[in-house]
Structures are given as C-alpha cells and as structure tokens.
C-alpha cells in the first residue's frame, strides 16, 4: 500500500484529536504547519535509516579533480553508497588524503583513470587520480533525503514499520504546538524507540576543542 501525504496528514489529525473528516483547526487553508512537520518527519526517518537512495551519472572533465554531487530529484545529498567508473565499469574505492600521502608522495598530481575517491565536506568528492581527458563518467548511488512532498504526492516507499515513527514525530510536533506536553513526550518517546535513538547517550558526544589535528589522525 502506498500512502499519499494527505493520508499521513489525516492519520496525524486523528492521533492528535482533530476531526479528520471535518477539521476545526487544520482545515485545508491552515494545514501548512502540519504538512511541514510531516515532511520533517520523513527527513528524520530517512536520515536515520538511509532508506531513500538516488542514482546519478556524473560526467568527468579533463583535468578536473573535484566534483560536487547533487541529487537529481531535488532532495538533499547525504553520503555515497557506491561509485562506478564508466565505461570501464569497476567500482571506485574509498580513500583518505593522509592514507594516499603515505602510499604515493605525488598522489595530488597524478592523472589517469580514476581508481579511488574521498569525500570532502557536505557534497564534494576528489577523484584519485583525476582524468586528463574528457569522456568518462561516474555512475553512482547516494543516500539522500527526499524532496518535500505536497499533499497529493505519493510519499516514498518506506518500510511500513517506519510509518509509525513518521506519525509519532509529526504528532509530537503538533501536540507541542498545542502545549500538550505529556502527550507530546509520549509520542517523541515512541519515535525515539522506533528509530533506535536514545537521547541519554548523547552526553558522551565529544566537544571539538583542539584546533589542529595532527596529520593522520
């Protein structure tokens, strides 16, 4: 069964006590907040589970080593699942600039058929070595966040067990906006459990205070 965003919205409205058949507050002229929270919920679920994947083809240019990856359907890029070089057909391996430096002192200036890549920042990659001629391309797949849905859109084909966290998150936000703390807490607790998040453990996150990190660490 596929859901539309409208289906999800009606489910959330039922959960938070709104009459989905004849809404008194979130009617069609006033439901943008609700739609936004549901889209946020989909982002959250896809972020944690990596369920939404897009494939792309990226042309390679002569003497260009760095490339940006943008999902073709308007979503947000998260990370690369695989990269395959065309027409050769083999998969590029992952690399690290420090590792490369130890294996080949001149890796930065090597040109030729790409064999490896490393990611940089949010959405850039460096090919090693980089091509000196035009004509090749990269075929890849990346984990993304889906673009925002409109009410009539059919939402992405999530695992059915993950619809529940979507509803929990959206209902939690709706209840917060109504200042119903106890119920909101209950839904966020259910959402956290559903996605395997445990906020108690976040205290162990380390704070980045060292300015210079030694090479290779």
């Amino acid at each position: 069964m596929s859901y539309t965003l409208e289906d999800i919205k009606l489910m959330v409205m039922d959960i938070v006590g709104e009459d989905s058949a004849a809404p008194t507050y979130w009617d069609s002229s006033n439901d943008s907040e609700l739609v936004e929270w549901i889209n946020d919920a989909f982002e959250q679920v896809c972020l944690v589970t990596g369920q939404y994947v897009e494939e792309f083809t990226l042309p390679l240019f002569a003497n260009r080593a760095w490339y940006q990856i943008e999902p073709g359907k308007g979503g947000q890029f998260l990370w690369v699942k695989y990269l395959r070089l065309l027409p050769e057909g083999y998969e590029l391996g992952g690399a690290d600039p420090n590792k490369l430096a130890r294996e080949d002192y001149n890796w930065m200036t090597r040109t030729g058929t790409p064999r490896a890549f490393f990611p940089l920042g949010i959405n850039s990659i460096r090919l090693v070595p980089y091509p000196s001629t035009n004509g090749q391309s990269l075929e890849g797949s990346c984990v993304c966040l889906p673009p925002s849905f409109s009410l009539n859109d059919t939402v992405i084909d999530l695992d059915k067990s993950l619809i529940r966290p979507v509803l929990d998150y959206a209902a939690g936000m709706a209840l917060i906006s109504m200042r119903r703390l106890d119920k909101a807490l209950e839904f966020f607790r259910s959402y956290s459990i559903g996605l395997g998040l445990d906020t108690r453990k976040t205290a162990t996150l380390t704070y980045k205070s060292t300015k210079l990190r030694e090479l290779g660490q």
Binding site: N63, N98, M108, T199, K208, T210
Partner: protein
C-alpha cells in the same frame, strides 16, 4: 533556505508569531550563536583551499555581495571565469584553457597584511577566520607534516634561518591562529630586510603596476579598494603549485539578518531550531516553560547524535588512522621523496 523561514518556524512553536516577546534581532543572534556551537561540536563543514606562499591572499570577486568574503581567502567564488561553475577557486586551474589572470584587474590584499607589513613584523600565515581544525596539508602538491613548537624543542633553533624545499607546517601551539613553513621555502619576489626569515618589503601606494606573473610573492597592500567596473576587484587565482593546499573544517558564515541564507543543510536546521527554542523557553518571559525547554533540548541532543551517525556513514571510506603516538615526528623520515615518474600502485 532563508533565515526568515527558520525564524517563522521557531515563532510558531514558541507561540510568538507577532514578535510580542522576542525581536527578530534577538532571535538572529541566538540562532547565530547556536549554529556556531553546532559547527564546533560537529565539524561537518569541510573545504580545501590554496594559500599563496608567502602569505599573500589574492582574492577575486565579481559582485558587490562577495566583498564581505575578501577577508576570508577560503570563500572567493570564481564562477564567471569560464562556462563551468566553480565552487572552490583553486578549481579554475584544473580547467584547461582558462586564463587565470584577468586583464585589467587590480590586486586586492588582506587587511592583516597592512598591519604586518607596516609594522615590519615577521609575516606568518593566518589560518582562515572560519578555521576549526585541519585534516590535510600539502605544499606544492606534496603532503606536508604538521609540527608544533614542542616538536622542535630547544635543539631546533635553526628553524629561524633554515630554508629548504620540503617544509613542515609549523604551528606555535594548538590554540594558535597562525603558522609558518619550517624550514621556510625559497620564494621568488621576497626581499629579505634583515636576514630574519619572513620579513618582507612591500610596494607602497598603488599596486596596479604589479604584474601577477612576475611579481608573484611580493607582499603588497592597498588602503583603498579599487573596483573595476566590469569585473569588480579581479586578481590572480591561486594555484596549488608553489603554494599551500589545506583541507580543513570550518564554521559557517555568521547570520546577521533574516534575509541571510543559511549555509547548513536543511535537515540540520531542524536540530538547531530545537536548541534555539529550548534557549528561548528558559528565559524570563511569559513563555517560560522548563519542561518544554527540556523536551526541545532532548530533540537537539538527539539531532547531534544523528549528525554523528551521518558523519560516521559519510566518512566510512576515510577511516584511515595512524595509531602510533610517536609517528608524527618520524613521519617525514619515512616518507620517500619519490620522483614524479615513480610508478604508483594504481598504475
């Protein structure tokens, strides 16, 4: 995503849509503070830049709004030079057939150069002002070692006068904002004044007569910006040859107005909104609600955990790590200085 969009979402959740409690200015300041905190804590922004040696930061910009970036050599944008779009200025040099020099341009320099040149201080490189930590450094397209003063110790006083072709990136200590190359590299254009390293002369007055091709390396300064009516301030693109290339993690642009664009991915913005809201709800206002503040803080903490998970996934191909604690000092000795025609493993 505009900051105003995020502020609207925050106002809905704290029930202050008519700004009767919090002004926009206050929300923007809080938002900016939170984003810097998240940037330091997560360090998900990363970029690579070229810095000239000696530390002249030529930067080109073509639009008025880019002017703010000129003090940050990392963020100049060069998408007008070619039909291609560049996200980093050093990319231009990778594009064959693109002239890196712009005819009719003028040379812009950094404000700190004025200070250092006029005070006759030893010129150091500055880390970019958005710098958090470094992940990789190279000079002249070859990897560099990073060392601290403690690595040089009392036996290494000659670092002041030594010169060589295989330098290390020397940082005073881990909190320092400056660094220099040790031993210093021989660079065309530097005129040593007193024999101390790094002291330079500079061209006084207008620098329009400088030729970027032949005067490369000369420290110049200008007290006034000079704009070209066609190009804006246009100058030489820094190429990695005979220059530093560093990969580092950085903080995003400060946000000062609701019309500013948020640099963060939208999915991170949600978490920062939670942190802003949790801060707002514990302030001494009619909206004070400790329990709600705690709930939003928990959502923020959960978001940080998700970001950690994201980084783990994204960097799973970059898990290489040197475990030996003593490896750093020995590394340059282990690293063979191989000729460029040396066959690497992937050939």
């Amino acid at each position: 995503m505009l900051l105003s969009t995020s502020l609207d979402r925050i106002r809905v959740l704290v029930r202050d849509t008519n700004s009767s409690i919090f002004t926009d200015d206050f929300l923007i300041r809080t938002w900016d503070e939170v984003q810097m905190q998240v940037a330091l804590r997560t360090a998900i922004f990363e970029r690579v830049i070229n810095l000239s040696v000696p530390a002249v930061s030529y930067a080109t910009y073509t639009h008025q709004w880019e002017e703010d970036y000129i003090a940050r050599p990392a963020t100049a944008i060069y998408n007008f030079i070619s039909t291609y779009t560049y996200t980093q200025h050093w990319e231009v040099m990778f594009d064959s057939g693109v002239d890196e020099d712009i005819t009719g341009g003028v040379t812009g320099t950094q404000n700190w150069e004025v200070l250092y040149a006029s005070l006759q201080n030893r010129l150091r490189h500055y880390f970019p002002d958005d710098y958090i930590e470094m992940t990789y450094a190279a000079y002249d397209n070859r990897p560099l070692e990073c060392i601290y003063r403690e690595d040089v110790g009392n036996v290494g006083q000659s670092f002041k006068t030594l010169s060589g072709t295989k330098p290390s990136l020397y940082v005073e200590d881990k909190e320092s904002n400056t660094f220099f190359l040790y031993p210093r590299v021989e660079v065309n254009g530097i005129t040593e004044v007193s024999g101390e390293y790094g002291e330079v002369v500079y061209a006084e007055g207008s620098n329009d007569s400088l030729n970027p091709s032949t005067d490369y390396g000369v420290i110049v300064f200008s007290l006034a910006e000079d704009m070209d009516s066609n190009y804006g301030v246009v100058i030489r693109v820094q190429v990695p040859e005979d220059a530093l290339q560093i990969i580092y993690r950085y903080t995003p642009n400060h946000l000062t107005a609701s019309t500013d664009t948020i640099e963060w991915p939208k999915w991170v913005v949600k978490f920062m909104e939670c942190r802003v809201i949790s801060r707002l709800l514990v302030m001494e206002t009619d909206l004070f609600n400790k329990d709600f503040a705690q709930l939003f803080h928990n959502l923020y903490e959960a978001g940080l955990k998700i970001i950690e998970r994201y980084k783990s996934k994204q960097n799973s191909v970059r898990r290489y790590k040197m475990d030996s604690s003593g490896a750093m000092a020995k590394r340059s000795k282990k690293l063979a200085d191989l000729p460029s025609h040396y066959e690497s493993y992937w050939r």
